[in-house]
């Protein structure tokens, strides 16, 4: 991705807003935001990336998890201005053009989602685990997702899906 900020047309600055450049899923966006706007709100409502969900805005549920420089972070605990210049990846950025990523496909095979609300946060968190090179075991998966609340699945099929995806990746 070689887009630069110059190619993006400048956004008119509303009163009380600041202009920032957000790098999301490999694309740069020049936008005007109020300094108090949460990264989660900007991703969802300014950039239309509604795959990132908001379940609490209290930093507890993990539904809003995105990757910041490859590390899972809660986008509800961050102001958009704090994310300026950092590489953000949302669930949309972990999704292939067509079909499903290996991890997403494992979620489907194992019925690791019901209402789907926690799912993008889970995918982001688990993708980070798979990419980290850390051992993927029942315990490490449970630990990795312990900050992502799922009210529907009881977690077991999520754990199964991640273990399966890790096995596939190793093949």
């Amino acid at each position: 991705m070689s887009e630069t900020t110059q190619e993006v047309s400048p956004v008119e600055t509303r009163e009380g807003t600041v202009e920032i450049t957000l790098k999301v899923n490999g694309k740069s966006h020049r936008i005007a935001v109020e300094p108090r706007m949460l990264l989660s709100d900007v991703l969802r409502h300014e950039l239309g990336l509604t795959g990132t969900h908001v379940g609490c805005e209290q930093g507890v549920c993990g539904a809003c998890t995105v990757l910041v420089e490859g590390e899972p972070q809660r986008s509800c605990l961050m102001f958009a201005v704090q994310a300026e210049g950092r590489e953000i990846t949302t669930v949309e950025g972990l999704t292939p053009e067509a079909g499903l990523s290996p991890l997403q496909a494992a979620f489907e095979r194992h019925h690791a989602l019901q209402c789907g609300f926690c799912t993008p946060g889970m995918i982001v968190t688990c993708e980070a685990l798979l990419r980290s090179g850390r051992p993927v075991t029942e315990e490490t998966v449970r630990e990795a997702i312990s900050g992502n609340v799922c009210r529907c699945t009881g977690y077991q099929f999520i754990v199964d899906a991640v273990l399966d995806a890790a096995k596939e990746g190793a093949r």
């Binding site: 109020e34 108090r36 706007m37 969802r44 409502h45 239309g48 990336l49 509604t50 795959g51 990132t52 969900h53 908001v54 379940g55 609490c56 805005e57 209290q58 507890v60 549920c61 539904a63 949302t90 669930v91 949309e92 999704t95 079909g99 499903l100 997403q104 979620f107 489907e108 095979r109 019925h111 989602l113 019901q114 209402c115 789907g116 609300f117 926690c118 799912t119 993008p120 995918i123 029942e138 998966v141 449970r142 630990e143 997702i145 312990s146 900050g147 992502n148 609340v149 799922c150 009210r151 529907c152 699945t153 009881g154 977690y155 077991q156 099929f157 999520i158 754990v159």
Partner: protein, 777 residues
Amino acid sequence: MSEVLKPQFTGARVTRLEDARLLRGQARYVDDFEYPGTLEVAFLRSNRAAARIQSVDVTEALAVPGVKAVWTFADCPITLPDRPFQVGQPVLARDEVRFVGEPVAAVIADSRYRAEDAVEKIRVQYEPLPAVVDSRAALADQPRRVHEHRPNRFLHKTHVTDGFNEAFQSAPHHLELTFRWNRQTGVTMETRGCLALPDPVSGRLTVYAGHQSPHGLRGMLARLLKLPEHQVRVVVPEVGGGFGIKAMFYPEYVVVAEAARRLGRPVKWIGDRMESLLADAHARDAIHEVAVAYDDEGRILAVRDHVIGDTGAYAFPGFPGAVGEANWATEMLTGPYKIPHVSIEIECVFSNKAPLGPYRGVGGPIGAQVQEAIVDAVARALGKDPVEVRRANLIGPEDFPYHTPTGKVYDPGSYGESLERALALVDYERFRKDQEQWRAQGRYVGLGLCVFVEPSAMAESEAGSIPYEAVTLRMEPSGVVTAAVGTGPTGQGHETTFAQLIADQLGIDVKDVVVLHGDTDSAPFGGGTGGSRSGTIGGGAAIRAGQALRRKLTQLAAHLLEAAEEDIRLEAGKAFVAGVPARSITIRDLARTAYTDVARLPEGMQPGLEVVARYQPPGAATYSNGTHLAVVEVDVETGFVKVLDYVVVNDCGVLVNPMIVEGQIHGGVAQGIGSALLEELRYDENGQLTTTSLMDYLLPTAEDVPRMRVEHIQTPSASEGGIKGMGEGSLIAAPGAIAAAVSDALAPFGVFVTELPIRPQQIVAWVQAAKTEAQAG
């Protein structure tokens, strides 16, 4: 239909058709819809449990840039229906606030941020009143009446079986226990919200909302906004969990819809987590004072239960939560046991807490915990093994249909078999030996059982009082089927399970059935989802609709293939003559013919392939059952409980999709672990809710929930397809099993759990007290 159906999809672990969009982050929940010019609402909510409103000053709020309107009751004078208890909740508080979190004013602005700014600028003068927070005191109208014009106790009823007194008094043994369940709530990961879009040309209003009953929501909105029903369209998009709380009708929906109508702009409200903990339907909050009469063998002869239920400040229209809780808990009080006599007294009161409504299982979890604790208490009193006492009391296969002392009729189930299989899965005898050794080493491990009965597919539930569901099927000229249903799934996978049932009737691929739901413009009138009714009632309607369409396809194929109708088979996308597979026509060709080559249709057959079927099951309910077995270890120093092993043997009749059923069970067990060990909405003595974030209201995480082993038994129901509902059984059974396991682990200290959730401090205190007593003794 006489020919034997070869199910290809029914019973198979079909992966879900809804998953791809959810996994890709493309699914759209209410807050994901953006319409130009949308205004957003923020509510000012009461920070008092009870107070008279002296004045509300909105001047400063109105001056906040971007604010379009600030409403109080005077601006939106609508009150929810007040029947049958003569108490209706004003959509914005009128003259008085009655619980912390009650909406007092609404700000409508061009963004949620600005709306919230303005909320902070509203000045309300309150004159404090004493808060009613203790349900026993509330019964005596102490410290006051919540609603001046009527006593706090709004429901009192009794049910006593003939001969109860004699049976109770003549029994050789008696024991008494008082159970208390604290307040809990469903906590859907997606908060409640709605978006209303006015159409200035037609005057029609479209309302997007995460809701379990699209038609129920439409009916209530139309009624309160005084619009004809067809002028309101409800669209339920993706919903991030329901668990009962999204089956209710809430005041915010009225305010948002009315604002859209009056301001002529799209208006949206998305609740935040604090609002959801404050004002989503709360649940449980009941006291059960129980007395049990039993004999030397541990046979339970009679049970008395006095219930006090606290419904909060208002009763949800159609579902006063405390009544639902108390009714279900007491109607199912004898569970899987042959207890001949009951005496039940229910009293429900208003209080200055948030309104109580449904949460998965409604009174079932309480009833099941009470029922199992009774058995365990009898076993402990007699020095018998709890399993032995269960065996002595269980309803056997020969007893069906079984008439309970509370007037229910159980269809056949596998009560004893599920228990025995669960015990075998953990090697029960071996466990008891190990347990003794662990105890000798100072490790407190306990095993708890819950043999549950789950009423499902009832004529009435929180999803309303509609005893049927409808499915319309339209096979398009392409051969793909569009099905529209009136249910309101919130993650249960109806698009897949209904497609499985329909595909099997038509001999087509499951992916060629597209299930639409949630839009009142396309869905047939239905009750929605709640009370574990969708699989049995909705599934039954799907089968019936499939059968009707199958008849027409068969007729057409018979005509085109010049064969008798009874010789036609539909399989693998083809209609063929039995025994002569070469004489066939594809279902696609049949479909095309039905629409575009109508000269070839048999005489009298209408063009097109479209049917609607409605289905009402034969019984008043069908009863799923099963056994949950939990093994826990209690750290007596910290009071921390760890679930070591969890086994479920489940019987919900014919399985449509075992994978989805297992997912439901896992999720319910997780919620049950939360109910037993973590989740509590705590009000202080002034009626302040002190648990308004997920840091205080603790939900089970992946580290709290163990790996579960699930096995199935299939005892079919008499309903179409033999299906029984199963959405709630796992949350009905799990808290009782966990509580029993903790009691068992702490038996050496004489601890017997009667209050849920169990807090670590309590465990530490109980153990300390027992040790002190032992030293003193």
